[in-house]
């Protein structure tokens, strides 16, 4: 697999948040490796509020890690 996570360090909190989103998506990719299936599932959960909130929870957990790694950008 190509390098997709060279570092947890980002220039800004916002870039750190975007990295958290990427970290959230990557584990779906590793479990379901068929891009067509992932596209179909994404179309489903993008209109399902429970799923969207659950995704937010995963992002929040990763953001905590990225923020700590960056010393909270302070």
């Amino acid at each position: 697999m190509d390098t997709w996570l060279p570092t947890l360090i980002t220039d800004t909190p916002q870039a750190g948040y975007e990295l958290a989103v990427k970290l959230s998506r990557m584990s779906v990719k590793l479990t379901q490796q068929d891009a067509a299936v992932r596209d179909r599932l994404r179309a489903e959960y993008a209109v399902d509020s429970d799923a969207l909130i659950a995704v937010s929870q995963v992002v929040a957990t990763h953001f905590a890690t990225v923020a700590a790694a960056n010393g909270y950008w302070t």
Copy 2:
């Protein structure tokens, strides 16, 4: 995308809590980019106690991060 997260630092705990709410909503926005769909979903989950509690959980996770970033405002 515009800058929406320049810093995790806030003047008060309450402003930190409001930032946590913003951080929670932003990942829904990044996954479902159609504002009309988001409005419809929000109308649904605003009257669904399970969804409201799940949103609270996301806010709590982000608040932990924001509070740590601010040294708990002490």
Copy 3:
């Protein structure tokens, strides 16, 4: 909005726990601003064990933050 969170510091662990409960409820309030709807939802989830457990999870997450802010009251 009025000041409802001036500090995370409390005199005792128990007061910290009560603050965690308050922090949990506040995000429901910010998402569903109609008090009558909130009262109806609360009546529903107060007899729903899954919802009560989910609320407990949110309180636990906030309590971790409040406890850390207070140096665990030691």
Copy 4:
């Protein structure tokens, strides 16, 4: 309300775990104050594996806090 949480400090890890269980139950008590309703709900979720696992999650979150408060008893 009586004092039910004077300290997070316990003599042993096991006593800390028992405190985590107590912390988990207390937020249900604060949300649903009718003991008869709580007894009925508990009878239900004690035979519901999803609910039992969800309770375990709350205990795990509180145990993390209690363990940190005690310097992991080391």
Copy 5:
């Protein structure tokens, strides 16, 4: 109750993971004290992917605590 948690310290990360599994199961045991009921529930959730994933989440939370207690075995 007998002593079942004398320490959070383990010799290896793997032993720490096994302790996390034990910590996860113990709170089910404390809530549902009838071993026959627990066996029946376990038979059910062992073939239920949602439940298995939820159990994994509890283990992950406890593993974080055990790992911190052991200074990450480094």
Copy 6:
């Protein structure tokens, strides 16, 4: 059981993420030890967006631990 977790230390963040995925799967393995059942369950949840998101949450929790163990690779 063979040694499957000798250390939490990895060379790169990406290898740490892969270890988090492994840690997530291992607790399913310990609860459901029949490989054929696990294969069937995996086939089910690989096309179930709720389950995939729940798995992501477990990975995120383990990744936080692995990242802390590695001092965030900085």
